[in-house]
Subunit: 420 residues, 2 copies
């Protein structure tokens, strides 16, 4: 009997993580001689710990194919970090117990840096425990912060969403600036790295110039220079668009969003960085403003996914299975950029020890000298990642996203209490 | 020599107002024997007052055709309300002066209730002034609040954007609810009427059920019942989505967004209704939340326009010119619903005296008895309006939206100072 596979989604979900799931499951199904069932963790690794497994063999080929165009985590995801083998010994032992009970020989973990680390530990531990699990990490993060791989599945679609939305909203402000809104502020994700904010800069190009000021988490906020730049743009263009990362900080390290706002009960402020920046501009110059906070809309916007991103997400899932079938473990498939223009990429792989817990920051040379924009090098890197559209099918005016049956696997192990 | 036409965009712009512009200009160009040039007002009616006219004949057929897929106001719009003939006498006389100087025989005004009123007055005044202008209003408003017409161009695309975004973000929350976010709050436009908020309800249907609580401006906010409903949903579904209209109010009439939040300097709060609602849920139950404010993103999202909406917007522009050519004035083309299922509509028209300054509210029977959802009647009304997709062309991963040349017409009149 071939060994079964375990697949789980980890951390914040993306518009294309299910495309990776489809890549894993469809590829596994093509190798019934080598891989038995694919069990998915309900709500990520928690499903493995609580033995809450989903038998994906109950899902039709059509349902699995539909994962390719369905955003977010079809099996549920979780924020639950396993720490070192020592600190989380009970959990790792529990994973071994469940995996052994369900004859798991393959562990596919779809997530970011933390989950790469968990994946590595599962591989190491299974060897020590005397029954080998081939553990392969499938890269995913909207933050684009995994090392080795040229980019992370999930990021390209957020980047496309932010670039398109910034262009569209800028057209709106431009229309209204004579008597109404002068400054539009869009807040985007990215607490540590400005990759997503940088994508806002793509909204402006040679054929469609737009005055955009970007506030990066990498650049300490300089209020005076920022206000001067906004004023300059409004004087020259009649309007200005600001893309602010949620992670933008004052020089003393506080987030902009912590600017001292309190509600009537004295609770710390409710708003984000966008209203703070907008109000600051209003106070300085009286410009009428509008602001938006994209929040989950940006990372779930499968309706506007990048075709490149969808293809790469699927390819990472497929490659993970193929790597395992080729005998590899403690690895992660990667996206290798062969050329930017024309864009060509291939699938490579990295050792998990080189990936786990390493964060890839934006290179300094991607941020313009004034700190408010992106360089040509950044543009050259980003543009390929938003190429192409990959629309979901629609039914009754809405995207036909699949909800899986998610049939539970019968439990075989004693109960396990999660640490809260 | 045939008379020239004047076209202007008024008030908040939409994803499809330029499709109406294309309808006007392309139709006018097919009748060179009857209509001379089409002059557009730069920044709406202000362009007429300051004699800042744009000669659209310099735009290529390709550029005008591209208006059909370009959001926002290609000639600029403005918020500038002309009042009664008495109160705004100088402005109306100025309009006559400019229109006479540029041999304007047709006035096409693309806007909401206020601009319908202006349009009516221009028609009346031109008759009194002894040179007849055929004034035809072209309906436009994301708020869907014009009477007589079954719906307003601009609304269908916002409705589609909010319905799709609500579904996508709900999938995200559903994925994360086991360990992270339980409640997602999306703030949408609609200060007076809940049409846009109602569209959020479309995200949930028989095949894709989603627990959504809608807060309408029409329903005084009942905090206790709201919290109970959110808790009920979280207990049953593990998560809950809230769509809150910016116009939602406490029973005493204050907006939710005015909930007493103050910044460090004592300024009134910066945030909107979404963070207030999210914090309220957190305070009551401790549920982790996320919130988004769609703001301009929702009304500029041409990338996700409703095909029905685009076709109707174009049809209204074309019909406006055809009405004028048929000799009509003081009228507005309308959308007439022939049947909901299958959806069939035709073009009718209304007298402006029946349209001007009348606001169409949501019928009471469109809001569910508990005040937190939409009824089947509402669904039957809304669903056709979001039918079909009409994607713009893309270049380099971004929508190829047109920016017109907007060549100025030589001025012929003395200067005119706008009232501030």
């Amino acid at each position: 009997m071939p060994k079964n596979a375990f697949y789980a989604q980890s951390g914040g979900v993306t518009a294309v993580i299910n495309a990776s799931a489809a890549g894993v499951i469809e590829t596994a199904r093509r190798h019934p001689d080598r891989i038995g069932k694919v069990y998915a963790g309900r709500n990520g690794i928690i499903g493995a710990l609580t033995e809450d497994l989903i038998d994906t063999s109950f899902e039709s080929p059509e349902a699995i194919a539909a994962l390719r165009h369905t955003p977010s985590g079809a099996f549920g995801s979780c924020r639950y970090k396993l720490k070192s083998l020592e600190a989380s010994q009970a959990e790792y032992e529990r994973l071994m117990e469940v995996f052994r009970a369900h004859d798991i020989g393959y562990f596919f973990y779809n997530g970011g840096g933390d989950s790469a680390d968990t994946c590595l530990k599962v591989s190491q531990l299974s060897e020590r425990a005397g029954f080998s699990i081939q553990a392969v990490h499938v890269p995913k993060t909207v933050d684009n912060d995994l090392p080795v791989t040229d980019n992370c599945p999930g990021f390209g679609s957020v980047a496309k969403y932010i670039a398109v939305s910034t262009r569209e909203a800028s057209f709106d402000v431009r229309s209204m600036s004579s008597t109404s809104t002068r400054v539009f502020v869009l807040e985007v994700m990215g607490r540590h790295a400005g990759w997503i904010a940088a994508a806002g800069g793509l909204a402006s190009d040679a054929t469609t110039p737009i005055p955009i000021v970007i506030l990066f988490p990498e650049v300490p906020f300089d209020q005076e220079r920022f206000l001067a730049r906004v004023k300059e743009n409004v004087q020259r263009w009649d309007y200005c668009t600001v893309v602010v990362s949620e992670g933008t900080r004052w020089p003393d390290g506080r987030f902009l969003a912590e600017a001292g706002t309190r509600d009537a009960f004295g609770h710390a402020q409710l708003g984000g960085a966008a209203p703070v920046v907008a109000q600051m501009v209003k106070d300085a110059f009286g410009y009428k403003y509008h602001w938006a906070v994209a929040d989950y809309l940006q990372r779930s916007a499968r309706h506007l996914a990048s075709r490149t991103d969808v293809e790469q997400a699927y390819a990472m899932g497929r490659a993970a299975v193929e790597l395992a079938l080729a005998g590899a473990s403690s690895v992660m498939p990667t996206i290798v950029r062969e050329s930017s223009s024309p864009y060509r990429w291939s699938v490579g792989h990295a050792e998990l020890r080189d990936v786990a817990n390493v964060e890839k920051m934006m290179p300094k040379e991607f941020i313009s000298a004034d700190g408010f924009g992106i360089t040509d090098a950044c543009r050259e890197y980003l543009v390929p990642l938003i190429q192409g559209e990959d629309y979901p099918p629609y039914h009754n005016g809405l995207p036909a996203y699949v909800t899986l049956r998610n049939v539970a696997v019968a439990k075989k192990c004693p109960e396990f209490k999660l640490k809260k």
